[in-house]
Amino acid sequence: MTNNLRTRIRQSIEDQTLQTALDNNAERRLNGRAAAFQSIPDWRERRQRAHAIRADVIEHLDEYLAQFIAKNEGNGVIVHRAKDSAEAINIILDISKSLPLRTLSTQRGKDKTLVPLSPVFRGRDLRGEKVLIAKSKSMVSEEIELNHALEKEGIRVVETDLGEYIVQMRHERPSHIITPAAHLKKEQVAELFHEKLGIPYTTDIPTLTATARKVLREVFLTADIGFSGVNFGVAESGTTCIVTNEGNGRMVTTIPPVHIALMGMERLVPNLEDLSLMLSLLPRSATGQKLTVYTQLLNKPLPDQTRHLIILDNGRTRLKNSPLKESLYCIRCGACLNACPVFRELSGHAYIGKDKSIAPYPGPIGSVISPGLLGENFVHLAQASSLCGACKDVCPVDIDLPKLLTRVRAGESPAVDDRQLTTDGAGLTWTTRFGLQMYTRIATHPKLFAASQKFAALTMTLFSPRSQWIRLPAFTGWGYSKDFPRFAGKTFRQRMENGELGVGNRGIENRDSETFQSSNSPTSKPSHLEQFSQELTALGGHVTLTKNPTQSIIEFLNMRGIKKIMLEPNTLDESLLREANIEFTNTPDDQTPVGATNAICGLADTGSVLEADGALHASLLPEIHIAVLKSSDILPSLPDAMKFVKDKNAAVFITGPSRTADIEMTLTIGVHGPKEIHVFVVE
C-alpha cells in the first residue's frame, strides 16, 4: 500500500510541469495570505475566537442543527438529511425525476423574458433531452462522487467553476480544494479548449476565460437545477452562506428554477456575527482576499424558486465521537495545503488509497479526514508527513493538525466497518515498525542502551573506518539522499562518566534580553469613503463621487454608447433617463449590457457593496454593474452590515468585479459575473 503511494509520489516529483505549477501555487497563495492578514492585526485573537466558535458548534452540533433546520423550514426551504452518500445521491435523483417538464410556456414566470432563448435551449426542450444540472464547486459532492452517480442515471452535470470545468473536461478530480486545476499549465488548458470547445489554439488566459464564460452562460440559462455546496450555515437565522469569486455560485442559486444545496452537517456557525468573523478569516486564508467577490447570504427561496437543502452525515457523527473530532472545525480554506511541503510535491492527485483511488480531500486536513470519514483505505496517508507544523501555523481555526496526524497513525481514526485495523502504528511499513519496537526495548533499559551504543560504534567503524559518515544503500530510506553519521567513538555519557568534561575559563557578559515589540505607529485614519474607494479601486472597481447620480450615470452610458439598461426600481430618476433616450427594463435578461442597482450599504475595509432581492439579477447578468451608494451608508466593516441581511430573501456582498485565478494562478477579471463594477457614491 505504501508502495503504491511511494510510486505515485515519485511520479509527481519527476513531473517538472507539475512541480512548477505547484511551486507557483504555494508561493502565490502563501504570499497573498500573509499580505491579507496584515490588514487584521488582531488575527491571533480572531483565530482563537474562531476556534472556540467551531468547538462550541461541534460540541453542541445536534442543538445547532435542530435550530438551523427549523429556521430553514420556516423560511420555505425543503430540508433533507442524508446519513451517507447513497442517501444523498438518491435524494438528488428523486428531485431530478420529479421536476416539472419545462416547456417554453411553462417556464417559471418572468423567466420567459430570459430571451432570446438560445437555439440550444429550444432544441433541448422540444426533444425532451436530459435533465441539466449547473453545478458550482462543492467538495462534499466530490466526497460522495456525485457527478459519476448522476451521469449514470442519464443526468447531465456541468461544473461551472472554471477550474472544475477544466478538470471535468479532462475527466480528472480536482487537485486542490480551492484551485482545482492548480496542477495544469496554460498550454494544457489551451489544448483542451481547442480540442473540446473547438476554439483556435490560444494560451491567452483572458480568451480562454471568455470562452468558458460564453459556453457556461448557456448552461446557467438552460439548467433545470442549480447545484451548490455551502460554506456556512447560520443556526440562528437559517442563512446559507456561499462564497465564489467567479459568480457561478450566484448563477446556480439565482437563475435555475430549482436550487439544491449540499452541506456537510458540521458547517454551522451560531449567528451572523460569528459568520462575519469566519468571513474575515476564510477568504484571507484561501485566496489572500479580504472578502470573496461574491459573499452570498441566502435566507428564503426567490419567488418561483424551489430550494432544497441536503445535510450530509457520511461519517461525521462517527468523527465527532472520535479523537479526531477537532478535524470537524475545518472551514475548508485550503491554507494548510498551500503551506504543506508534502502537498507541494504531490498535488491532490497523489493522495491515493490502498485501492489506488484518489482521496477526496488532499493535504494535511485530507490525511486526517479522508481516513476519518472513509476509513482504513486512506490511513497510510497520515504517515506521509514530517509533522513540521506549517499547516497548524496557517490554519485560521487553529486546528492542531500534527496532533491529529499522529492520532491517525496511532490507529485512532474511527472504524468505518469491521475491516478496520485499529492497531497503533497504522500505515507503517513492517520493517520500520519492527525496528522501532526493537529500539523501544533498548531505550527502556539504560544498560542495554549504553551497550548498544558501543556495539553500534564499533560495527560502524568497521564499515567506515576513515570517514565520519557512512553511505547506506538507498533501500534503507535514509541512504536514498543522505549519509549517516558514524556513532561517536565516545558517547556523551561515557565522557560524562569519565569526568572528561572539563571547564575552560571564560567571562560571561550578561546583557538585558532584547525586547521585540512591533513599532506600528498609528497613522491618521482615512475616512470610510476614502477607504472604500481605495479598496474597491485596488480590486479593479471604479468609484465616482457625484451629487446627481442619474446625470453622472447618463454621462457614463453616453460615453460608452450604451442605450439600454436593466434597472432596479427606485434607483435612478426615470424621467431623466427617458429624456436622455436611455431605455430601461426591470425584467432580467441576458442581453442588456448594464445593470443599475441601489446598494443597501458599502463596507469601507473591503470596498464591498451589499445588494439584495430586487437587485440580484441586475447585479449579476450584465457585463457592467452600476451601483448607487449613499456615502453615509458606507459602514466600517462586515459585522456592521449583517443587520440588513436578516429580513432579505437573499443578499450578496459584492467585492470587485467577478474574477478567477484558476489558470496558472493568473488573475483574470470577468468570469460569470460582471466584468466591471462602477459605484456612484452620492455625497
Binding site: 499522529t406 491517525v408 497513525r409 496511532a410 497503533d424 530510506g477 561517536a488 556523551f492 560571561i508
Partner: protein, 241 residues
C-alpha cells in the same frame, strides 16, 4: 548553586557528544552545575511520531521516572525533544490519572537550551566569538512546536565577529521528520535538496541549528552531495570564546 538537569537526547549522546560538552561548558561558566541522570535514554519521539503509542508510553514512563528522582529544571539541546516532553507526553497520558499529572510536572520543568538561557537566565550575550558568516535554520519543532525563535536569534546576534545572513525560506522543513525520512525517502530528499540550495543561496559556509535531528539530516545530505558547508549546533557556536 543553581543546578540543571541535562536531557542530552539520544542523538547528541550517540553522535554529537561535543554539543553536549559545549552545553556543560556554557553552564559552568554561568555558574550553573549540570547534572546528568545516567538512566536517561531517548524521549520516545520516533515511536510517538510513528503512531506506536504503546512503545512511546513505555519510554515516556521510563523517562518520567528517571527525572522524578532529580531536582532542577530540565534543559535539552533539542526543540523537538522539548516539544515531546511538553506536548506529546500529555497527549500520550491523556485521561490517565496516574501518569498525566506526572507528565505535567515533567513538562513544567522542561526547557529548550536557548529558551532557558534567554527566558530563564536572562542571558543573551555569552561573550562568544566567531570568525565568518553564519545563517540560522529554525527547526520546525523549535519554531512552531514550542514557539522558540527570538531566543536563538538574540544569542546569535551577540556573537562577536559573526556576520549573520538570512537563510531563504528558512521556516521550511528540512525533510527529516524522524521516521518520515525512512518511510518516505523521496519526499525527504526533495526538501533536503531545497534546504541545501537555500543554504547555498545564503552564501553562508555554516548553518546553525537547535536540533540534532536536523543537524544529522542536513549534514548527511551535504556530505552525500560533497558540499563544503557545515552544520553546527548553536551550543557549539556560543561556546566559542
Amino acid at each position: 548553586m543553581t543546578q540543571v538537569q541535562l536531557f542530552v537526547t539520544c542523538l547528541v549522546d550517540s553522535f554529537f557528544p561535543k554539543t553536549g560538552q559545549a552545553i556543560v561548558d556554557i553552564f559552568s561558566h554561568l555558574g550553573i552545575s549540570v547534572d546528568f541522570a545516567r538512566e536517561q535514554t531517548c524521549c520516545g519521539q520516533p515511536q510517538f511520531n510513528a503512531g506506536l503509542r504503546k512503545d512511546a508510553r513505555a519510554i515516556a514512563e521510563h523517562t518520567i521516572k528517571v527525572f522524578e528522582n532529580t531536582t532542577g529544571d530540565i534543559v535539552t539541546p533539542s526543540g523537538s525533544c522539548a516539544h515531546m516532553f511538553r506536548h506529546n507526553y500529555l497527549e500520550l497520558f491523556e485521561g490517565d490519572s496516574l501518569w498525566h499529572p506526572r507528565a505535567k510536572s515533567l513538562a513544567a520543568r522542561t526547557f529548550e537550551f536557548t529558551e532557558y538561557l534567554v527566558d530563564k537566565l536572562g542571558v543573551t550575550d555569552l561573550g562568544a566569538t566567531w570568525d565568518g558568516v553564519l545563517t540560522y535554520h529554525p527547526s520546525c519543532h523549535t519554531l512552531r512546536g514550542i514557539n522558540v525563535d527570538r531566543q536563538p536569534r538574540a544569542l546569535l546576534a551577540n556573537v562577536r565577529g559573526a556576520t549573520l545572513v538570512d537563510l531563504p525560506h528558512a521556516e521550511e522543513c528540512c525533510g527529516f521528520g524522524g521516521i518520515m525520512s525512512v518511510e518516505h525517502p523521496e519526499l525527504s530528499a526533495e526538501w533536503l535538496k531545497r534546504k541545501i540550495s537555500n543554504l547555498e543561496a545564503s552564501q553562508s559556509p555554516t548553518l546553525v541549528v537547535t536540533d540534532a535531528g536536523c543537524l544529522m539530516h542536513i549534514a548527511g545530505g551535504l556530505n552525500r552531495q560533497k558540499k563544503q558547508q557545515r552544520v553546527i549546533h548553536i551550543a557549539e557556536v556560543l561556546r566559542n570564546v
